[in-house]
Amino acid sequence: MSARDRILERVRAGLKRPTPVSVARPDRSLAPMARPVSHLLNDFIARAESLQSTVAQVANLNAVPAAVAEYLQAQGLPRKSVIWPSLKALDWFSSGLTAEARPPVSEDRLGITETFCGIAETGTLLLHSGVDHFSTTSLLPETHIAILRVDRLVERMEQAFALMQSELDQLPRATNFISGPSRTADIEQTIVIGAHGPRRVHIILVG
């Protein structure tokens, strides 16, 4: 008997029955609250800001590079970025930015990504991995700028999963929920922003 068999045997013995052939999928889906987009937007912004993300809003995708430039200017950050390949088409150059569509190395200081969807309940970004969606872009650089279309806001985490299920063939290798810059409180319970991941998360809402 393998360890697996022995463990399962003990589980069955404890529960006093053989392993069931099938168990109904527990249905604990929550219906969306069907609130107007403006409420979602307000909630999302308020909660994201309470998690120390910063938020800007622009009318359309073409306005993103200028918004990025403005943010970098205000923060006094260099105008050099690694971006997801899907953002290559934007005119970064006119806003005085260099944007390289490649996975980051540890020295890169700014990473710009798109966002699969945003979750209003907690002000959270959902990013998933993929051939063109480098996970490290939102992880290694000290500043992460996330571009999020307003029509991609959902109420709760359940709806984000439902959206993934309807749009993707299968769950990606990595599904990352990001809620603000990385932080730690491991020394004296004092919250310090900027642990191993980014120190700044800036969200540019589009739409």
Binding site: R4, L171, R173, A174, I187, G197
Partner: protein
């Protein structure tokens, strides 16, 4: 991990006498409880969320074998290799084999309490690998060569000065009392380790049966690093950590961070499924999950079954006055506080942790905060019952309980004993009407006086008063057992 739970009382004495620790505990101990309270104010009906959490976890346990097999099948379908380990030692061996087969030299770890159970770090180090803990708290403790004292804030017992001293010793950097600089220093030290590691070892906060995924929850981002950068990822987690669906995960995630740190959500929640996609630039090429039993399956269906609902949020210890006074190390193993007082004897054997279930006033501060409504005081009482019925309590304790019970069931004798007992105590008290020592009860009188009984017992006084007022005169002595039975029949 080395087991020190048998020396609980000695550990307690040491911790109570440790001034630095006491100062750290009183300065940082209350923070989580305050933050949790503040976070709950913003939630509509947290009690309903707790009900939901409790029922989700309870349902999982009812069909644990089914969900584990489902998880295994789905994980394998996505290219994850699933291993089963009966003990911590077995889990270490499996991990060692994976590492050797993959030619691993450098290992980075994010927090895994199961790997603390198994003592993984020593095993890997002995096998010639370098292991680096990357959770800041765990990293500090690795430098200090100490076990964690809390399940979500492992180094809560250390002050900034102690951390700074450790950093000075190990990094050669000047002392500082600035906490952000210390964090920055750790970031700088650890980044190269992430980049150079061949293998990442993580725990698994939850396993999702339906998708074969491992979920990891961290604030620092180290969990993401460990599961993204190295070419091999191994998650080591307990068999009870499975959840059926992603919706269940959503429900549980509304509870975990609020209960733990008072956050509405943890910074990073990563759901990891399978291996690097073809053509992708990041993610591990090899992904393993080790499902560790180590005493868990034995609890199923028994009277400690409910303890397996635990989602390791730490709220019970954050609210436990005993934990807050003695700190986590006193408990002597991986899990401190109320849940530790249950899991340690449950996993290791009652005889290894006799004092732990006794280390509670049953004040229930833990029970009212537990997000999955584990009846922690009841479970401690269950363990006390086992200690008593298995003859694991000292003979004088067993005898005095029996004697006391017999007296309490015989009111006449009880009144007699109370009358003479209180007279004796009054005689022993000084003019201040206090007892400064009591034979056999030095546990009390070492640190406290005992106020002497006020006078005659209440019932003696009442009887006299009643007699004087001619209300009720007859003094009923102990009814015979047959009378008692008769009294109970309708």
């Amino acid at each position: 991990m080395k087991i020190r739970s048998e020396q609980f009382k000695g550990n307690v004495r040491k911790q109570l006498a440790d001034e630095a620790l006491q100062s750290n505990l009183s300065r940082f101990g209350g923070g989580f409880a305050d933050r949790r309270r503040d976070a709950l104010v913003k939630v509509d009906d947290f009690e309903a969320l707790r009900d939901r959490g409790a029922s989700i976890r309870a349902e999982v346990l009812e069909n644990l074998d089914y969900w584990l097999l489902k998880f295994e099948a789905e994980a394998q379908r996505r290219g994850t290799q699933v291993h089963w380990a009966e003990t911590g030692a077995e889990a270490n061996q499996i991990l060692l084999n994976i590492a050797r087969n993959a030619g691993v030299q450098r290992v980075v770890k994010s927090k895994s309490m199961v790997s603390e159970e198994s003592g993984l770090n020593e095993v890997l180090t002995e096998a010639g690998m370098t292991v680096t803990e990357t959770d800041l708290g765990e990293y500090i403790l690795q430098l200090a060569n100490e076990p964690p004292s809390h399940i979500i804030a492992p180094a809560i017992h250390k002050s900034r000065d102690e951390v700074s001293a450790l950093f000075e010793k190990h990094h050669g950097t000047p002392r500082t009392d600035d906490i952000p600089s210390l964090c920055e220093e750790a970031r700088g030290q650890l980044r190269p380790h992430f980049l150079a590691a061949d293998m990442g070892v993580s725990g698994g906060n939850f396993l999702i049966a339906e998708t074969g995924s491992v979920t990891i929850v961290t604030n620092e981002g180290n969990g993401r690093m460990v599961t993204t950068l190295p070419r091999v990822h191994v998650a080591m987690t307990g068999i009870e950590k499975v959840l059926p669906t992603l919706e269940d995960l959503s429900a549980i995630l509304r509870l975990l961070p609020r209960s733990a740190t008072g956050q509405d959500i943890t910074n990073y929640v990563s759901i990891l499924t399978g291996v690097r996609d073809e053509g992708a630039m990041d993610g591990p090429q090899e992904n393993h999950v080790i499902l560790v039993d180590n005493g868990r399956s034995r609890l199923l269906g028994g009277d400690l079954h409910d303890a397996l609902r635990c989602i390791r949020c730490g709220a019970c210890m954050n609210h436990c006055p005993v934990y807050q006074n003695i700190g986590g190390h006193a408990y002597g193993w991986v899990y401190p506080g109320p849940i530790g007082a249950i899991l340690t004897p449950a996993f290791l054997g009652l005889e290894k942790a006799l004092d732990l279930p006794q280390a509670s006033t049953l004040c229930a501060a833990c029970e009212v905060v537990c997000p999955v409504r584990i009846p922690l005081p009841d479970l401690m009482r269950v363990l006390r019952e086992k200690e008593l019925t298995q003859g694991l309590r000292p003979w004088h304790e067993r005898l005095s309980i029996r004697l006391w019970r017999w007296l309490a069931l015989h009111p006449g004798w009880y009144a007699f004993a109370a009358r003479w007992g209180t007279r004796l105590l009054r005689g022993m008290a000084g003019s201040d009407r206090l007892l400064h020592t009591l034979p056999g009860l030095d546990g009390w009188t070492e640190g406290r006086d005992m106020p002497a009984p006020q006078g005659e017992t209440f019932r003696d006084q009442w009887r006299k008063k009643q007699a004087a007022e001619r209300k009720i005169i007859p003094i009923r002595l102990d009814p015979s057992p047959s009378e008692k039975k008769a009294g109970l029949k309708k």
